[in-house]
């Protein structure tokens, strides 16, 4: 592999891994508080559509990111209300949220089909600038992705807020006994998860494809949910996972571009097969580490 191809693979791995990382750390926050959100795909779609629409209307991609974050948060709070406030089934509500996101994003994105935007500006950081390769300059969301993961890790594992949040995910009854409010912490967790999911979608439409297409997330929301298990509910492991999966996706694109005689459909299977293989490997070694109260609704203390 020559150096230009290598740099190309690295650059595009980082690009496709970024969106996965934001989505994964968001889902980790929610699951650490005991709530599985299968609607992440829908949140990402709404983020992608809203971010694109706002960018196309204002001409400012940063406003687009802000709009996507806001929309992701708002829509995820609908999910939060249903599972926390109404004790609705998490899986059914999550899938419904996916459908809702699919529909709403199609409606929001409809006027912008075929619209061209400049996308998120590429910024040169000092350290990378020295290498002098234009392929290695990225948008701000790429540079902030790893710090965001570290920040979420710090919030979860080094603050009292995070301690409380994890306690709610492990044993809500004990959390109440300790004077915490499970529902308030869960609302906060899902708000943050929605914000990150919205940003994840925005990065796809504003930096990767720079167009809007219906259903453009193409299952990345579900891959992110699998990555949470891969990462063992730890945002730092999620960095490695997102890079690995971004790498698989970009290697496939590079091979196709290089004219390799492999069906694109076979290549497209790689991320899903890899996810499945990783899940089997973790299952084999019994390295679950899932929050104990994950997926169960907390209906109060007797």
């Amino acid at each position: 592999m020559n150096s230009a191809l290598l740099i190309g693979v690295v650059a595009s791995s980082v690009m496709s891994g970024t969106s996965l990382l934001y989505a994964t750390i968001g889902e980790i926050v929610g699951e650490r508080a005991g709530i599985v959100n299968l609607g992440l795909e829908g949140i990402m779609l709404i983020g992608a559509a809203t971010g694109f629409a706002a960018t196309a209307l204002t001409g400012d991609a940063y406003l687009g990111v802000a709009a996507a974050a806001l929309a992701g948060t708002a829509v995820n709070l609908i999910f939060a209300y249903l599972v926390i406030g109404r004790h609705a089934n998490q899986l059914a509500t999550g899938l419904t949220l996916m459908f809702f996101g699919l529909g709403l994003s199609a409606l929001i994105g409809r006027p912008f089909l075929g619209t061209l935007i400049a996308g998120l500006p590429k910024l040169r950081l000092l350290g990378l600038g020295i290498m002098g390769n234009p392929l290695l300059s990225f948008d701000v969301l790429v540079y902030l992705a790893v710090p965001a993961a570290v920040l979420v890790w710090w919030l979860l594992f080094r603050t009292t807020w995070g301690l409380g949040l994890r306690a709610v995910g492990e044993n809500p009854v004990a959390a109440v006994a300790a004077g915490l409010s499970p529902s308030r912490l869960q609302y906060q967790a899902l708000g943050l998860a929605g914000l990150l999911g919205g940003i994840a979608g925005a990065h796809l439409s504003l930096a990767v494809t720079m167009t809007w297409a219906e259903g453009m997330t193409a299952g990345r929301g579900f891959i992110a949910i699998a990555l949470v298990i891969f990462a063992k509910w730890n945002p730092l492991w999620a960095i490695a996972g997102a890079l690995l999966f971004g790498g698989a996706e970009s290697l496939q694109l590079q091979l196709q571009a290089a004219g390799a005689d492999v069906s694109p459909f076979i290549m497209n299977m790689v991320p899903y097969l890899l996810t499945l293989a990783v899940l089997i490997a973790w299952g084999w070694r019994r390295q679950g580490a899932a929050p104990a109260a994950l997926g169960r609704n907390f209906v109060g203390v007797e």
């Binding site: 899986l91 996916m98 459908f99 529909g103 409809r110 459909f265 499945l276 089997i280």
Partner: protein, 346 residues
């Protein structure tokens, strides 16, 4: 399972009224949203009613649309009875269609008496095997079936695409690759001179068997025991692992029949865009129905009506079909909010 006929119908009508109220609220909210977006949803509602209930063709289309939903709903409801979550109806549908197509290509010189039973069995086996993999992973306690069935949903359409863009590509197909057209003997017969096809009969038979097996057999009793308390069931000597494997295989097979019916009756060939999310919609149908057989019938019908509204919005209002998902999700959101302790599929 309700055994008393009159009580059953009373329950059903009470549910139907509840659903009707919810649907009206959701229709109103959806109309408000589309009006705000500068579209005219009310015209689409009127068009739908006129089209669907005003003539036989429209009503027949409703039955056509309902058919795959009955299959995929049973595919989600059956495993739910023993506490398994099958969100993989979509992938199982595609693999049923795939194996049925392989059968058509191999056996197309035979008569319909050979072809149709063979394709039916292959469709069932294709979907069943696709569901067996998550079942094995679950039985070995390696991977949770929710996530594995979801992931497999993304693999199955890729396999189908690989074949129709590659080995099975019809020389006649141009920009949209597809498999060669099925021979007439491999086409499921249609009914009442409409597009309604024998797949509907398959679906109703599946639903009937589901109802009978759960309510009136030893299997139903044992499944209820597993769904109630796995440990207790195991101590009673019920083979939980066998149930996991067999139930998932059957459920996947039923979803596979949806795919088989789709290629054999509707498309007449294997195509890439086989399902607009029937698998996921079926899961929600099963959930809304509380996994009851009567509920599945009613909810599939309701979802089919929503699908027709989606068609009208696409044709007359120039909106993407996917927009109808907002209305569907709206109905579900209201139901989810109203029914705090969700039954089954949990």
């Amino acid at each position: 399972m309700q055994r008393d006929g009159a009580a059953f119908w009373r329950l059903l009508s009470a549910q139907a009224i509840g659903i009707a109220v919810v649907a009206l609220i959701a229709l109103g909210a959806f109309a408000a949203l589309l009006l705000a977006a500068g579209k005219n949803p009310l015209q689409a509602y009127v068009d739908t009613v006129v089209y669907v209930f005003g003539n036989a063709t429209g009503f027949a289309e409703l039955l056509v649309r309902m058919t795959p939903l009955v299959f995929t709903a049973v595919a989600a409801a059956l495993p739910a009875r023993i506490g398994l979550i099958n969100v993989g109806g979509e992938g199982q549908l595609y693999m049923g269609a795939w194996l049925a197509t392989a059968g058509e290509l191999a056996l197309q010189n035979h008569s319909a008496f050979v072809l149709l039973p063979a394709l039916t069995v292959l469709g069932f086996v294709g979907g069943g095997l696709w569901a067996l993999l998550p079942a094995i992973l679950r039985a070995l306690r390696l991977v949770n079936e929710t996530i594995s069935t979801l992931l497999l949903n993304y693999l199955a359409p890729l396999i189908v695409s690989y074949f129709i863009f590659g080995p099975w590509r019809s020389p006649e197909s141009s920009s949209y690759p597809e498999s060669p057209a099925f021979v007439d003997a491999a086409r499921l017969p249609t009914l009442f001179h409409s597009r309604v096809h024998a797949g509907l009969i398959y679906a109703l038979v599946c639903l009937g068997l589901y109802w009978l097996a759960l309510g009136r057999t030893r299997f139903g009793l044992q499944m209820r025991a597993i769904g109630g308390n796995v440990e207790a069931a195991r101590r009673l000597g019920i083979p939980v692992m066998s149930y996991t494997l067999v139930v998932m295989f059957i459920a996947g097979g039923v979803a596979g029949l949806a795919g088989m019916a789709e290629v054999s009756a509707i498309q007449g060939r294997l195509v890439a865009e086989l399902s607009p999310g029937y698998g996921y919609a079926g899961f929600l149908v099963a959930w809304l129905a509380g996994t009851g057989a009567g509920g599945i019938l009613v909810m599939s019908f309701l979802f089919a009506v929503l699908g027709s509204v989606g068609d009208m919005l696409q044709i007359t209002q120039n909106l993407p079909y996917a927009v109808i998902n907002i209305l569907m999700a709206g109905i579900l959101f209201i139901v989810l909010a109203r029914r705090p302790i969700g039954r089954a599929v949990s």
